[in-house]
Assembly symmetry: C2
Homo-oligomer: 376 residues x 2
């Protein structure tokens, strides 16, 4: 499956990926490097459209070359016909050095967070007089604000997750009570795939009753009972983008304590979303929601940040938390997911995906949040 | 969720994980380092039993400490009560340096394949007079030969994959014809989860008709037809271990060309498995199977290695390929998966999971391979 290394195509870059590479190159100039090695798959995909695996991108002013192996020759041609491609036959570092040969690259940037010591060493041994320079967060910072094409795909990933959830809720309490958490989570995943998901954004959390107090719970063999709360945190991956939602549903009568904290969490989410607009610090958004929970006396039971950026990765920059120093920008998509967790009793978290727009915030997810609508 | 960094427990290590750490430490002595940083999650899990995320292990002679964050405090206590644990409140490198404080570690080993440049830099800045030394493949080499406990779990992962496959085949041609590849793949995944899988070993390949000629095909919207071959490559993940199987099923009359290549592939697999025993080079096993295909005139249509090690990772050492220099050892589990791919027509691959035993080879997977048994 391994072919002779050669540039198989060279076409002038146009369109959305070329524009993204242009923005990346402007950042490289500011960082005083001539080109950059991109190794993180979601970053490579963002700059090229490539959907295969195990490939690296070199990008400089006016040029880009994807280094892949013979398994993905067809994939490159299909996904990114507008850039050069090198099909490597030997180690990655040798192929990268080959691509650089004859190009005016004295300083090559790389992200130390995404390059292993081995690759750095191997590459350093092949670069002759060129210098390797650490350059951080070039692509991830570009990825924060989504463009219209990305938002279209993200809306689709959200719709898929919502459709599957509605179908599962449509089974009613009879379709839930007596089944294991694991089985219900598996069915939700199956329904997302049937609705067009390429996969899950992350392993579904589905926690019955008291299990809901563990924010990172893994669904197990516990069976859902009547009159119980079930916390579900799930998402679909489609077209390379993630959705991420949380709801709590009830299989019968709603326990009074859960009704109380549900209402606090719902109001906290409203307050968080109301605080979202371009220019506002992520920290302030977290604070706006957190204050509602603190005032209700549950500050100690909300032990995580309010939310996080969402896109190609299910957790990406910016984080909405106490320590964040980032300010919101138009086009960012963030989750807003306050929660209250009561060990031995259960937990409530409500999570929606929210777009920062010039005006304010727009919820991209449209599932009901009213507690009485959450009864199966 | 972040707590004060402290050692929460210190218990003398006993049992299987302590024994594995003991073997790792003997390798460290040979490499002349006093302790090692382990960052790859499957390696950390192998040495400790830990099933959480984002955690690193420091292991030295007679001691081990898992550095995790507040999300996994409960998980550590449950999974690995026999080692120290440090719940970090700040960056990983600071916590690691804290754990090393007061210990006689002059040289700290790390695997350059699994440590990023950033972590290495951050750590180097915190270690004072200690030296960071590159040490390769310490844990992955230990992981190659499986012990009885691991084999029990792997057999379960295989049984789960087989059960789901049999159920799907049990639907008969009426349950397959007219459905999309994507939908059938999703149902197979759902059935594996219902049978007890924690997840998939990898995204299922399910390729109808001519799509079978692409070894890395992703199931799409093509609908299965009557009288077609469908190639399925799938696996279940259970208890931290993977299974990996491939079969070709037929929705009706078997096309003559596919019958011909099926028989060649089946005999090639027999020949490969017959060549397996401790001491034999992986290269020789590949050759034994490949010769059958070459003699039948299809050498050019078998463009990948014969198989790979299987365990915590779906692809791990040793590879069964032309370039492998490894010799088989008792306890290794490898896939044996010859194939013939005819563009425009389709492909046949038959894959089983095989244990190298003192005597010879034992198939761990028990699905039929006879072509007439593969008709739905």
């Amino acid at each position: 499956m391994i072919r002779q290394a050669k540039a198989v195509r060279k076409v002038a870059g146009k369109g959305v990926h070329a524009a993204r590479r242009g923005r990346a190159v402007r950042k490289l100039r500011a960082a005083k490097v001539d080109a950059m090695l991109v190794t993180k798959p979601v970053d490579v995909g963002y700059l090229t459209g490539f959907t295969g695996q195990d490939s690296s991108l070199l990008v400089g002013s006016g040029w880009a070359c994807l280094v892949t192996d013979g398994r993905f020759t067809e994939q490159v041609a299909k996904d990114c016909p507008d850039i050069e491609c090198c099909v490597r036959t030997g180690p990655m570092e040798a192929a990268l050095a080959g691509v650089l040969k004859g190009r005016r690259v004295r300083k090559l940037g790389f992200d130390p967070k995404h390059v292993t010591v081995k690759l750095r060493n191997d590459l350093a041994g092949k670069l002759g007089g060129r210098k390797l320079v650490e350059v951080s967060e070039v692509v991830s910072s570009l990825r924060q604000a989504k463009d219209d094409g990305e938002l279209r795909i993200m809306r689709r990933a959200i719709r898929i997750a919502e459709k599957a959830f509605k179908e599962l809720c449509g089974l009613g309490p009879k379709g839930w009570v007596g089944r294991t958490e694991r089985d219900l989570a598996a069915e939700l995943g199956y329904r997302m795939r049937q609705a067009g998901a390429d996969g899950l954004s992350f392993p579904t959390i589905l926690a019955a009753g008291a299990h809901g107090s563990m924010p990172h719970y893994s669904p197990g063999s516990a069976r859902v009972k009547a009159g119980q709360a079930v916390l579900i945190d799930w998402g679909a991956r489609a077209g390379g983008y993630c959705s991420d939602l949380t709801r709590v549903v009830f299989t019968g009568t709603i326990p009074a304590k859960l009704r109380e904290i549900y209402e606090v969490v719902r109001l906290a989410q409203e307050a968080g979303i109301a605080a979202i607009r371009p220019g506002v610090g992520c920290k302030a958004v977290d604070k706006a929601a957190r204050e509602v929970i603190v005032k209700a006396g549950y500050g100690g039971q909300f032990g995580h940040g309010l939310g996080h950026g969402l896109g190609r990765e299910v957790h990406e920059a910016p984080g909405l938390g106490k320590l964040s120093t980032v300010r919101l920008k138009s086009g960012m998509v963030v989750t807003v997911e306050p929660g209250i967790y009561l060990p031995g009793i259960g937990g409530v978290r409500i999570e929606d995906d929210v777009l920062v727009t010039a005006g304010s915030a727009r919820r991209l997810s449209g599932l009901p949040r009213d507690i009485d609508a959450m009864r199966l």
